[in-house]
């Protein structure tokens, strides 16, 4: 920080008012990023205040990290600098909701759980059933591009986000996209903000299209004895006319984390479990039940069971919270998020297991059949393991994914700060498009004010 901390606080107080600049150590500690704490937490209530804060930060070369629910601050590389936590939790209004038009505009600090409740009153929803659902906010979900099991049918954030308003690192208020369901006017700058981890701009409004809640929903669990049967079942579903909402594959270790204890007693966690949800008219859900049962049988399923409504809620909530469940069970776990093609899932799983086995680590994976695998590594219960050992495994994972035949992309999404330091770069091997990403960063945040160092390629 180039100016004295007190001068910084004074200026921030001028912008947002004294009550909304926090400097207590507990408040600062709650917003630490990989052990680095800011000098101040500032809680703006409007866009103009954010613009003033960022202009001030740019002038004084201060580093700003936006936050709200603080559930995903550990994602990304450790920040190079960190002076101000820009807490957006006061910006939590639904700005526009036209249920008749199925469109919505919200501020970034809206908690997703609250938002889904507002939508449910109109029999609508957003396909953003994401981890840390009780605390996660819209801004953080977008900045981290959080993945939902519903991605299988509805796509990712980029597929239903219509536009955004945001403030650049220079404090310029800007917007891209629009508020209607179809629009190609101008560059889709809002798309690059999705998954940008607060390195390009501070999101101040997000426009979404909403979806009608289906009249009926049914969830099924098929269990299998091995990986190829489970992934093969998913490929068969993909080749059928069925288009389930959710299709998730848990290996026995992941199934154990998900279903031992809290989940329905009928699920046997020693097996590979595939969770499938179908939605639509009751007749449609009935058809899924029949045909999925047949496909599961043909894929040598040990069991195929429809869940009751209560079981469905519990199972889907636990699948949604998988990364969180892992971190609660093993805080030192390393959780990779892999982008992987369906045909590569079985061989990649085998090779990842092999890495774990060689290094005496436990491996558990939850795979979204559409192409995302949460691959987690952690020490067996009671065994201590050093950061360098986990980091060595991580490097192997990155190498494995970089092999052309695997055609996979990996990032180490959650891990302890000392593992991050030992790994070097949680974003994996340098890719050819990093240079273009740097150009984009220089446009949005030329003074490197926003979340410096947290992103891929050292951005």
């Amino acid at each position: 920080m180039s100016i004295p901390a007190q001068a910084c606080v004074t200026r921030l107080e001028e912008i947002v008012g004294g009550a909304y600049v926090l400097t207590h150590s507990a408040e600062l500690g709650a917003r630490h990023v990989d052990g680095t704490i800011p000098s101040a937490v500032v809680q703006p209530a409007e866009v103009a205040q954010i613009a003033d804060i960022l202009r001030f930060a740019a002038a004084e070369t201060l580093a700003v990290i936006p936050c709200s629910g603080c559930t995903k601050l550990g994602i990304g590389a450790a920040p190079a600098r960190y002076d101000i936590a820009l807490d957006l939790s006061r910006m939590n209004r639904v700005l526009a909701y036209d249920p008749r038009d199925l469109t919505l505009g919200v501020e970034p600090g809206v908690r997703i759980e609250d938002l889904l409740r507002v939508l449910a009153e109109q029999h609508q929803f957003l396909p953003l059933t994401v981890p840390f659902a009780d605390r996660a906010t819209v801004g953080g979900i977008i900045a981290a591009n959080s993945s939902s099991p519903l991605r299988h049918f509805y796509g990712g954030v980029r597929d239903f986000c219509l536009g955004m308003e945001f403030v650049t690192g220079e404090g310029a208020v800007s917007k891209a996209g629009g508020r209607v369901v179809k629009n190609v006017t101008g560059y889709d700058l809002h798309k690059v903000l999705i998954g940008s981890l607060g390195t390009l701009a501070v999101i101040t409004r997000v426009n979404f299209r909403t979806f009608p809640l289906p009249p009926a929903q049914g969830t099924f669990v098929a269990s299998f004895s091995d990986a190829e049967s489970a992934f093969g079942f998913c490929r068969s579903v993909a080749q059928s006319v069925l288009t389930p909402q959710i299709l998730e594959v848990a290996d026995p270790a992941a199934a154990d984390l998900l279903f031992s204890g809290a989940a329905p007693a009928r699920i046997t966690p020693q097996q590979w479990c595939v969770v499938i949800t179908a939605a639509g008219q009751p007749a449609v859900v009935d058809r899924y039940a029949r045909e999925l049962g047949h496909i599961a049988g043909a894929a040598n399923a040990a069991e195929f069971m429809p869940l009751s409504n209560a079981e469905q809620s519990s199972v889907l909530a636990r699948v949604r919270e998988f990364p969180r469940l892992v971190l609660e069970a093993v805080p030192a776990a390393a959780i990779f998020r892999l982008s992987v093609l369906p045909t590569a899932m079985t061989p990649l799983f085998a090779q990842l297991s092999e890495i774990a086995k060689r290094r005496n680590l436990v491996f558990a994976a939850l795979t979204r059949a559409s192409g995302i695998m949460y691959a987690t590594f952690f020490a067996e219960e009671g065994r201590e393991i050093s950061a360098s050992e986990i980091a060595a495994a991580a490097k192997e994972v990155f190498q494995l994914c970089a092999q052309p035949e695997n055609n996979a992309q990996a990032m180490l999404e959650f891990c302890p700060a000392d593992v991050k330091r030992a790994v070097g770069d949680v974003w994996g091997h340098a890719r050819p498009d990093f240079a273009l990403m740097k150009r984009v960063k220089n446009v949005f945040d030329p003074r490197n004010v926003l979340s410096p160092g947290r992103f891929a390629g050292g951005i």
Binding site: K175, V180, G195, P212, Q281, L341, G371, G428, G457
Partner: protein, 477 residues
Amino acid sequence: MQPQLIRELIALLGPKAVLSQAEDLMLYEYDGSVELGSPECVVFPSNTREVAEIVRLANRYETPIVGRGAGTGLSGGAISRNGGIVIGFSRMNRILEVDAANLRAVVQPGVVNLDLSRAVEHLGLYYAPDPSSQRACTIGGNVSENSGGPHTLAYGVTSNHVTGMELVLPDGDIVRIGGKTIETPGYDLDGLLVGSEGTLALVTEITVRLTRKPEAVKTLLAVYDTLDDTTETVVDITVRAITPAACEMLDGFTLRAVEDYVHAGFPKDCAAVLLIELEGLTEAVEAQAAAITEVCQQHRAREVRVARDDRERELLWKGRKNAFGALGRLSPTYYVQDGVIPRTRLPETLRCIEEVSRKYDLRIGNIFHAGDGNLHPLILFDERDREQFKRVVAAGIEIMTFCVEVGGALTGEHGVGMEKNELMPLMFTPDDLALMERVRAAFNPVGLLNPGKLFPIGKACGEIRVRPMPVSATIPA
């Protein structure tokens, strides 16, 4: 153009791949819009390396480049504003890979949209974005414009179907972005590039998602005696959260032209029709058909007809997809608008268009992707009548202004190009546009690629040039 540049292009590509005679260049002066602009030469590379070499030459000679697919675009995106080189991608038209198991295809930019669907048909797959020009338009052009089509209501636009690209940057560098996988870590450069209208990079390879064909398809034709009943039906379908695969509206004026041209069986004495398509599992399609029929009847549809077989279905769609061409038979030229409105504002928007038609004394046909609020009012005119053309431009601006005022957008699928670039300030502030221009400069610093497009350049709209000769548009838009 400097003769030496032409000689170097010929040395690079061979004489058959370089056009520079005035009579050859005339073919490349226009696209599907009312814009016009002449290149100084047109080149046809066969591979990425040649594209990169052309770009390097263009840099050396400080000559602008415009990429061009089939020239079916509707906003002047593939026309050169200031001479220079047009790169035609028609020789780069190979489907490089079909990966059916992973639902992906890798294609060169010159592959015709419908050709990809045909090539994967035997696998039970297709490429979902379906612009009405899909028999001619190319996937490279679709990527540039982020093209849509009737079925984008359910399946999304081009951007939702592209996972990776190979680019040639304006300095001649070749870069890959994205890939076959979804959600590649890093900034979503695919999202930025799709719809950037050829102003950031030239796209030389595209990885797209393929979609499995639905089990059942049902096409309904609902016939109305008033426009208000038609538009209220669309609002009600949206409000009841029924999502058809497509929901198209054609007004009576358009229908009569279409029926005379295509003989699809549209009633000629009605105010408007809705062409609604439902896709999915048989059970879902049946339930949706019943629900939609009920909504149509509640809004006094005179008739709700279900296409009996594929032939009848295809005929109805042929009518819709040739509607621009049909109206083109009534008038020397037409000017297609592409505004978007919130779907619930459809009735008042149509009344606004009627008012504009009366005020400016112009015939306007209405062909809408009604389900997603994407309007295509089509203004008929004779470009030899300069006074009339001024009224056409003014009417267009009035309609677009209304769309933006009710919370909509200037373009839903045709792009901004050199048609709506001066209207951008209706939707975006100077700060919004400045940031976009800086993004352009980050990729395309000296404005080598597609200059004079997308951003306002301070030219009054009344100066939009018109074609020198009448055109009867046969390629549907």
